[in-house]
Subunit: 345 residues, 2 copies
Amino acid sequence: VDYLRNSQSATADDIAKIANVSRVAVSRAFNPSASIKPEKRALILKLAQELNYVPNHAARSLVTKRSHLVGVIVPDVCSPWESQEIDALTTSLQSEGFATLLFKTRADKQIDPQLLSYISGFNPDSVIVFVENVRRETLAKVIGRAVPIYVEYDNQTPLANDEGAGMLYDRLNICQRQGMEQAVALLHGFDCKRIAFLDGHPRSLAARERKRALSQIMAGRGMAPPIIVPGDFTYDSAHAAILSQFRVDNGVDAIFAANDVSAFGAIDALRYSLGLRVPKDVKVIGFDNITQAKWRAYDLTTVKVDLRERVDALIRLILRRLKTPDAPILIESLSTSLVVRGSVG
Amino acid sequence: VDYLRNSQSATADDIAKIANVSRVAVSRAFNPSASIKPEKRALILKLAQELNYVPNHAARSLVTKRSHLVGVIVPDVCSPWESQEIDALTTSLQSEGFATLLFKTRADKQIDPQLLSYISGFNPDSVIVFVENVRRETLAKVIGRAVPIYVEYDNQTPLANDEGAGMLYDRLNICQRQGMEQAVALLHGFDCKRIAFLDGHPRSLAARERKRALSQIMAGRGMAPPIIVPGDFTYDSAHAAILSQFRVDNGVDAIFAANDVSAFGAIDALRYSLGLRVPKDVKVIGFDNITQAKWRAYDLTTVKVDLRERVDALIRLILRRLKTPDAPILIESLSTSLVVRGSVG
């Protein structure tokens, strides 16, 4: 082992010569997504290991202009929804020959120009922006050749010309409304009269759109408008906000939470601090369908965004744009649906 | 915006000339951890943005031999413990001028040589190996110049000479025993007689060491050996295993779970499927102290590994090794302690 570490490393040319293959074949063997005969790949990888050859992406990226890095900008890796998405995304990117480069926004979820410059210095092939509060113009200017992918909500309209002229914004559009309509129908069917919306983070576009959709759907059914309870997507804030709400108004008979984690905080506040039963006294619905939603303690009815479909769509957007840099704007759309569990009915 | 995107980008030399600073200053301005006067940094970043200059790490890394990338190899990003650690690690790495490069092991938690070659192609400055089942020799050979950091458990002994000769293995050693001794003392104090150990994944060194420590501590107190219940760190397997265990033996009065998530599965099985009360009928202790451990539905007594301390120690190991490549093996040690909540007592 030691003599290998101390000796000079082999080059791709050395491997190609010994294996009697082309240099391109050596390169393909190291890309898990490249098509190459299994025996050929095995031979090349075996020789590479024996001769201590490792491909260097940094050097290669200067030639190919491809870094094989996909930047992912998130406010929190540790929120269950984001961690589950990053997990699935990393698996898929890896199988396509890319690696995930993680970046976190500031604590207030803002992205400053310094962070964007910093990210662009790593020369990512693509950047997935899970945060919603960075201006497109700022991002486009700083990210350079990487094509950002935005996640949007209930919006099929291409960008207005003045905003998007000459710039590409591939997008994943989540049709949140579908699942929310099913959720409201369920609560309406149980004759819920005072429905609270437990809000998400004030800076979140997703939460804002969920709130708006809920109000519209309820109005469309002739129901009283939802009572808005402030929140920020966390368990702790949800727990505290529901306690405050019920101190002034204990007539709420259903809670629609902006995400699953805050639904858990609401359920625990109802059960353990207010002595109320879920679903008998108060029904609770969440949004996301994270793994924990099916845990027995919560058994949460929730609006499901299929994680597999979501990640597959993101990967398709990234690969299409890399293959065809000048293609017109691409929009992938994802549907949502209600998963009914014990927290309602 | 468009004319900027289409025009030639400025170089570091251009920025240095216009700002009337050195080239080194331009480079430092983009490294969040480099010391530079705030006004100078602000001026350089402002000019860089106006003139569309972005530093290129790929090019720079060929000169400096530093990629500013730290590889992190994990089996699952989405387990709460790992996602919380990756989150804290990414924040700290970013503030030191590094970025986190995520890699996932195969579904069976194995690392194959192809994945290691793939990782080394990105030329990371350091690699943190959270998985325990890759041979050190394999890793050292393939990772090349990056220094791997291992996480170990209850082991202060430097490596035997034959295994470690000429190779460096910086390590973070978690002293699991301390917190576990406190946990057993608590259960002993409550006069628990039949204690089950809900095991972790069979390939996990951490779980194996936890099982061994528990047996030794209980034997030291003259208690009957723990009943071993199989598991794999997941909620679902824990839930199923506790149901099976109680079907053949309902005399268990305490469960020590190998991690918090499986403790949650155990609690839900006890309460919702077996009709038992926690802690009155069965006391439950976990390991990790993840955020969810304090959720009211679980209110879990658990062995705490301080996440902040753990990440700080990892960062110290990485930075020391990069600064002094030939320094002797470095071992950081972390203590553990019991956090007592409602699931016991």
